[in-house]
Amino acid sequence: MTSRAADMPVSAPASSSNWFAKIRIGRIAAHVALLFFVALWTFPTVGLLISSVRDKDQLAISGWWTALASSTTQNAARAGKAADQVQEDGKFVIKGNLLGTDARGKLIQSFGITNAEVAAAPVGGTLPMRDGGEITVQANGDYVWTSDTEFKHTSGPRIYYVVGSPPRFTLDNYIAVLQANGIAQSFINSITVAIPSTVIPIMIAAFAAYALAWMRFPGRGFIVAVVVGLLVVPLQMSLIPLLRMYNGIANVFGTESKGYFGVWLAHTAFGLPLAIYLLRNYMSGLPREIMESARIDGASHFKIFTGMVLPLSFPALASFAIFQFLWIWNDLLVALVFLGAQDDKVVLTGRLVNLLGTQGDNWELLTSGAFISIVVPLIVFFSLQRYFVRGLLAGSVK
C-alpha cells in the first residue's frame, strides 16, 4: 500500500518529504517484522537439519547454533609409566601423545595436573610433576616429560586438559539410524501405505463428483450436504466400530486383523469426503456449453467423463492427490490403530514416536530420523506448492 503511495505524484512538494520519511520507517519496520516471523518459523527446522549432520559427540555437548565454532571439552589422559622412559642427553624422558588415536583434528588449549586446575598452563608451557621433573604439552597432544633423576612410578599420572574439537559434519547419524533403528523398513512401510491409499480414492471420488456436479437425480442435494457434513466428522468417531468390524472379519476368516489392506481401505474412505467436495466444486465450474454440446452430439455421460471432464479436472485431481499423500504420510493415528506398532509394519511417524520413547536423549538419532521422515513431504511440498495452495483455497474458501 505504502509502496503505491510512494509512486503517486504528489502535488504539494512541502508534504512530499514528510510522506517520504514516514514511508521509509514503515517499510523498514515491515521488512524487519517479516524477517522476524520468517526466522521464528524456520529456526526450529534449521536446528533439526543442522543437528542431524553434526558429529554426535559435539551434538551432545553444544547447541546447534554453535555448530560452526569449535567446541571445547575437558578430558584427561594418563602419561607414561617409568617403564616408558628413555635417556636423552643425560636426562630421563617420557614421550607420548595425550589424545592417542582419537585425535581427529582436536587441539589442546591448556592443561593441568589436577582436576581442579585443568587450565594451569597453556599449550607449550611447562608444569612440575609430583613424580618429579616437569612436563610440556603441545597443541597436538604430544607431551615431553623430562627429569634429572630416574622415574620410579608404576602407574602413569593423569594429565587434565581442555581440548577444542573443530566443527565436524558427518552423515554417520543417518547411516546409524537407517541401519540400527529400523527407519529404512518404516520408510518402505510408509510408501506401501501411502501410494495405494492416494490412488484409489481419486477414481472413486472422481466418478461420484461428476455425478453430483452434472447429473440430475433425486437426493443429490442431500448427498452433497452429507459429504460437507462428513468433512468435519472427527476420525475418533470411526475408530472403535471399524476396529470391531475388522476384528470380526479377521475372526471369521482366521486372518490377521491388522494389515495393509485394511489401512488402504480406511485411508480411502477417510479421504473421500474432501476428494468428492474438491472435485465436485471444480467440475461444476467447468463450462456448461461444452457439456451440453457434447450431449447433443450423442456422447454418453461415461464418454464425457472419461474423455473431457477427467482431463480438464487435472489441477483439482493433482491438488487432492497431494493433500491425500501428505495426510497419509504424516498420519499417525490411523496407522497405529489399523496397522499396529509392530516392528515390521510400523510407519515412519510411529517409528519416530517409538524412538522418542526409547532414544529420548540420543538427539543424533532423533534428528536424523525425523529429517528422513519429513524429507519426502518437503520435496512434494516445494515442488508442487502451487497445486497444494490451490487445493487449500478450493477446500475452504468456497
Binding site: I191, I223, G229, H301, L352, L356, L393
Partner: protein, 336 residues
C-alpha cells in the same frame, strides 16, 4: 522390502483395474440391459428416463458404500456403544457419561481442550493475518510465505521432534543444547524441564500446532486480502486513512467471512489433535487432551464404552460447526 513395494504397486494396479472394470462394466451393462434401440414411441422415452435415472447411482455407488461403511455407520455405532459397557455387550444407560463428568482426568482433558480451542485458532489466525499483510507488500513476500507455510507439510510427529529439541533440558551447569533453555540460561535464569511444568507445558505443545497452522491461515487470508477491490483501498487512502485504519476499518471487515472459515477449520483440527500430545508427553504432567484420552481408553484399557463416550463428546463439539458448514454450502447451492 522390494517384495513389499511390489505388493503395493500390484495393489494399485488391481485397484485401478477393478475401479475401471466396475465403472465401465456397469455402464455397458446398463446400456445393454435397458437399451431402447428396438423400441418405439413412449417406450423409448420410458427406457431413456430409466437409464438416466439409474446411471448416477452407478457412478456414485462405490463412494457411497465407502462413506456409509467407514464414516456414517460408525457415527451411529459409536453413539450406540457409548451407552454400553466395556465390551459393548451390556446396555448400561448413561453410566459412561456419568463417569466422564465425575472423572478428574476427563475434566482435566476437557479443560485443556478448551484452552487449546481458545489459544491455537486465535494465535494461528492472528499470526497468519499479520504475515499475509506484511508479505503482500514486500518484494520477497512469496519466499517468506513459502517458508512460513512449510510446516504445513511436516507431520505432527516430525514437528513434535523438532520442538522437543527446542525444549530439551540438561541439568544446570551443563551447556544447554535446547534453544529455549539456552536463551533462559543466557539471561541468567536456571534451566527448566519445560515439559514437566503444568499448564506451561500445554502452552508449549499448543505452540507446535500454532507453528503448523499459521501457514494455512496465512495462505487463505492472503488470497482473501487480494480479493479486496483496489478502489476501496484507494478511496480510503485518498480520504486520509492511515495504514492501521485501513487494516482494522477496511481489510478486516472485508475478509470477515474468510476469517471465520479459517478459525473454524483450525478449531476442528485442534479438537482432533492427538499426535502432538501423544508424542511429546503422552498426556503426562497434566497435558492430557480428549483425543489422546480416547485413544488410551480404547487401546490401552480396551474399554470401548468409555472410548466411544469420549469420541461422542468430541463429536458434539464439532456439530455446531458442521451444521453451519452445511447451511453455508446449501445457501451457495441456491445461488449457483
Amino acid at each position: 522390502m522390494i517384495q513389499q513395494i511390489l505388493g503395493a504397486a500390484i495393489a494399485v494396479v488391481i485397484a485401478v483395474a477393478a475401479c475401471f472394470t466396475y465403472f465401465w462394466g456397469t455402464n455397458w451393462v446398463l446400456d445393454k440391459l435397458l437399451s431402447s434401440n428396438a423400441m418405439a414411441g413412449d417406450d423409448v422415452t420410458r427406457r431413456d428416463n430409466l437409464r438416466s435415472g439409474v446411471r448416477p447411482w452407478l457412478f456414485i455407488f462405490p463412494a457411497l458404500l465407502f462413506l456409509s461403511l467407514y464414516l456414517i455407520y460408525p457415527v451411529f455405532e459409536t453413539l450406540r456403544l457409548s451407552f454400553f459397557d466395556k465390551f459393548g455387550q451390556n446396555f448400561i444407560g448413561l453410566s459412561n457419561y456419568a463417569w466422564a463428568f465425575t472423572d478428574g482426568i476427563f475434566w482435566q482433558s476437557a479443560l485443556n481442550n478448551i484452552a487449546w480451542l481458545l489459544i491455537v485458532p486465535f494465535l494461528s489466525t492472528a499470526f497468519g493475518l499479520v504475515i499475509a499483510v506484511l508479505a503482500d507488500r514486500l518484494w520477497w513476500g512469496n519466499i517468506a510465505k513459502s517458508l512460513v507455510f512449510m510446516p504445513m507439510a511436516i507431520s505432527f510427529v516430525g514437528a513434535s521432534v523438532i520442538w522437543k529439541f527446542v525444549y530439551t533440558y540438561r541439568g544446570p551447569g551443563i551447556e544447554q543444547i535446547g534453544v529455549l533453555n539456552a536463551i533462559v540460561t543466557g539471561m541468567g535464569l536456571p534451566p527448566q524441564a519445560w515439559l514437566t511444568v503444568p499448564f506451561l507445558n500445554s502452552v508449549l505443545l499448543m505452540i507446535i500446532l500454532v507453528w503448523i497452522q499459521t501457514g494455512f491461515a496465512m495462505v487463505i487470508l492472503s488470497a482473501a486480502l487480494r480479493g479486496i477491490p483496489e478502489e476501496t483501498l484507494e478511496a480510503a487512502r485518498i480520504d486520509g486513512a492511515n495504514d492501521f485504519q485501513i487494516f482494522f476499518g477496511i481489510m478486516i471487515p472485508q475478509i470477515w467471512g474468510t476469517l471465520i472459515v479459517v478459525w473454524t477449520t483450525i478449531t476442528i483440527t485442534v479438537l482432533k489433535v492427538f499426535d502432538i500430545v501423544y508424542a511429546m508427553t503422552n498426556g503426562e504432567f497434566q497435558t492430557q487432551v480428549l483425543a489422546n484420552l480416547m485413544y488410551r481408553w480404547m487401546f490401552i484399557s480396551g474399554d470401548y464404552g468409555r472410548g466411544s463416550t469420549i469420541a461422542v463428546i468430541i463429536m458434539l463439539a464439532v456439530v455446531p460447526i458442521m451444521v453451519w458448514n452445511i447451511r453455508r454450502a446449501n445457501a451457495e447451492e441456491g445461488t449457483r
